[in-house]
């Protein structure tokens, strides 16, 4: 999967294998050591500028399949998308030709201010229409399909009428976009809201799932004694999430699967171990069920 066989001009699809989210602390190691990793994913917003970071990314793209993951486009904003933000993503997509491009089912921008988190949407027909309009606009600007990731959420709105899994499916069905199924996010949200994670998985249209995310999360006790799961990407994937990942593989077959780690980023070997674990499960489960979808 790795090595120097990919040329920069070749469109490298993301393989149905375990990849790693590339973050700054591992730039040098990856740029110089070229470790055996099936593919990398980066946050688009970290590479809007030039200089050393962009140089590393360009060289990584030469040797690995690359997926571009946006965290700031704010597809769920009631107002218009930030045109400059979309143009910057389009410029990255043009120059890197990533195998996958993804964003989130969430919003972060209102009144021209970026609120610096992936905020939850009310699950309403109005929000669905807004998200679909912005996915259409993004896909037109990028001239390709994108994947939409299910969010991790800590709160719900009283006036929501559509279960999140139906909302996700409807966005995929109406816009033709794919689904980035974040298994940790499903587990976190299901736990925080009393949903059934397996039911969520089973409700997603398997043919639309183009990628899976895995990450660690934390437990926090609120002042009222209730325990909330926080999607902090700061630890190993939990046993419960691995178990749900097995369910996802049974349902969707082998899919590109990413290990994400964003806080207290550990040694690269820890990420390699997590990726190896995902690869082992993929072979064991989806190797025999690749047609289950």
């Amino acid at each position: 999967m790795t090595g120097s066989t990919h040329s920069v001009n070749e469109h490298s699809p993301i393989p149905a294998a375990a990849g790693i989210g590339l973050r700054f602390p591992h730039h040098e190691l990856v740029a110089q050591g070229r470790p055996q990793v099936a593919w990398f994913e980066v946050h688009a917003e970290n590479y809007f500028g030039g200089g050393a970071a962009r140089q590393v990314l360009t060289s990584v793209r030469r040797d690995y399949p690359l997926s571009l993951h946006g965290v700031g486009l704010s597809l769920g904003s009631a107002e218009e998308l930030d045109g400059q933000h979309l143009r910057r993503i389009a410029e990255l997509v043009r120059s890197l030709e990533p195998g996958l491009v993804s964003e989130h089912l969430s919003w972060s921008v209102v009144g021209g201010r970026y609120l610096a988190d992936l905020l939850p949407l009310p699950m309403t027909e109005e929000a669905l229409a807004v998200v679909c309009r912005h996915v259409d606009q993004t896909q037109a600007a990028l001239q390709r399909h994108i994947l939409i990731e299910n969010p991790s959420t800590y709160l719900q709105f009283r006036h929501s009428t559509i279960p999140e899994w139906e909302f996700m499916s409807a966005v995929a069905q109406r816009t033709g976009c794919g689904i980035l199924c974040d298994v940790n996010n499903i587990f976190v949200s299901a736990s925080n809201h009393g949903w059934d994670g397996e039911r969520y998985l089973n409700a997603l249209p398997a043919a639309a799932v183009g990628e899976i995310h895995l990450a660690g999360h934390a437990l926090r006790t609120l002042d009222n004694g209730r325990t909330i799961r926080i999607d902090d990407h700061g630890s190993n994937v939990s046993a419960e999430v691995w178990a749900l990942y097995v369910q996802a593989l049974r349902r969707f077959g082998a899919k590109p699967t990413l290990i994400e780690w964003d806080t207290d980023i550990p040694a690269f070997e820890v990420l390699l171990d997590e990726a190896a674990q995902a690869a082992t499960l993929m072979r064991a489960v989806a190797g025999n069920h690749a047609c289950a979808a």
Binding site: W107, V110, T124, D223
Partner: protein, 270 residues
């Protein structure tokens, strides 16, 4: 049931609004369950932690000068008053130096604003877009007499700062944790004239003479070379210009009085 835009405005107010204002709490009625405020606080904490950390990464010397706790408090206040206008966080913090200069708890550190201005210029140099340098053959084709009429466009990584305090010396001493160098700094040594840029080795902070800085600042602001020379630049103007061109500090030029010449030469620059 509120429209989506109304809900998003309400959440912004709850996340970033003045916590002492009563209407900052009104939107909690939208949230399901009996602990919406506690759950909303998770988002507030994440947003503020993300933005304070973005400032911490861009202003490491300021943080060392004031200490982590003080920095956290100042950054938190800045974030609340000035949420970013874009999701590109390397662009966030342009106003932090001005905020610090007028932040009463920091008034005893008169040079703090200058150090922050320098760090912002360094941050800009670090993240500026990659732009091809000016093709000198294009410039040479103009000939000497035409050359004096051009205006240059500066590389986006280039900044020119005139600061009242020796912020470059403070910045270096603080980041190198060099107490001896810090102790040797004379705060009353007068203004410094700095040029900040990026080259293949990384970000460079250079101290220029006042005359070289004036010349360079005017040129990089787009003033025509002939006008800059007429301003009465004194010194080795030719040497300065050659250095700027050789080091790629300019990426383009325009020459409005010589449109006919450049069109004839097939140039299409703006």
């Amino acid at each position: 049931m509120p429209a989506l835009l109304e809900l998003q405005r309400s959440l912004r107010e709850q996340l970033f609004g003045d916590p002492t204002r009563a209407d900052a709490r009104g939107g909690e009625a939208l949230l399901a369950g009996d602990d919406g405020a506690l759950r909303l606080a998770i988002y507030r904490n994440t947003a503020f932690a993300t933005l304070v950390n973005a400032l911490r990464l861009s202003f490491p010397a300021v943080q060392r000068l004031v200490g982590a706790d003080f920095f956290e408090g100042a950054a938190h206040e800045f974030v609340r008053r000035n949420p970013p206008s874009s999701a590109y966080l390397n662009d966030y913090g342009a106003d932090f130096a001005g905020f610090l200069a007028g932040y009463p708890p920091a008034a005893a550190l008169a040079y703090l604003g200058d150090v922050a201005r320098l760090e912002w210029a360094v941050n800009r140099a670090l993240h500026a877009s990659d732009v091809p340098r000016l093709d000198l053959a294009r410039l040479a084709a103009l000939g000497d007499s035409a050359l004096s009429h051009v205006s240059f466009r500066a590389h986006p990584a280039l900044s020119l700062l005139r600061l009242e305090f020796p912020a470059d010396a403070i910045w270096r001493a603080v980041l190198e944790q060099n107490d001896a160098a810090m102790a040797a700094i004379d705060l009353s040594s007068g203004p410094v004239h700095l040029l900040i840029e990026r080259n293949p080795a990384g970000v460079q902070v250079r101290c220029l003479s006042a005359a070289a800085w004036e010349f360079t600042a005017r040129l990089s602001a787009g003033r025509p070379l002939s006008a800059v020379l007429a301003d009465g630049s004194e010194g080795e103007v030719d040497a300065w210009l050659s250095e700027h061109l050789a080091l790629g500090r300019f990426i383009d030029f325009s020459c409005t009085t010589l449109v006919a010449t450049t069109v004839a030469a097939g140039e299409t620059h703006s």
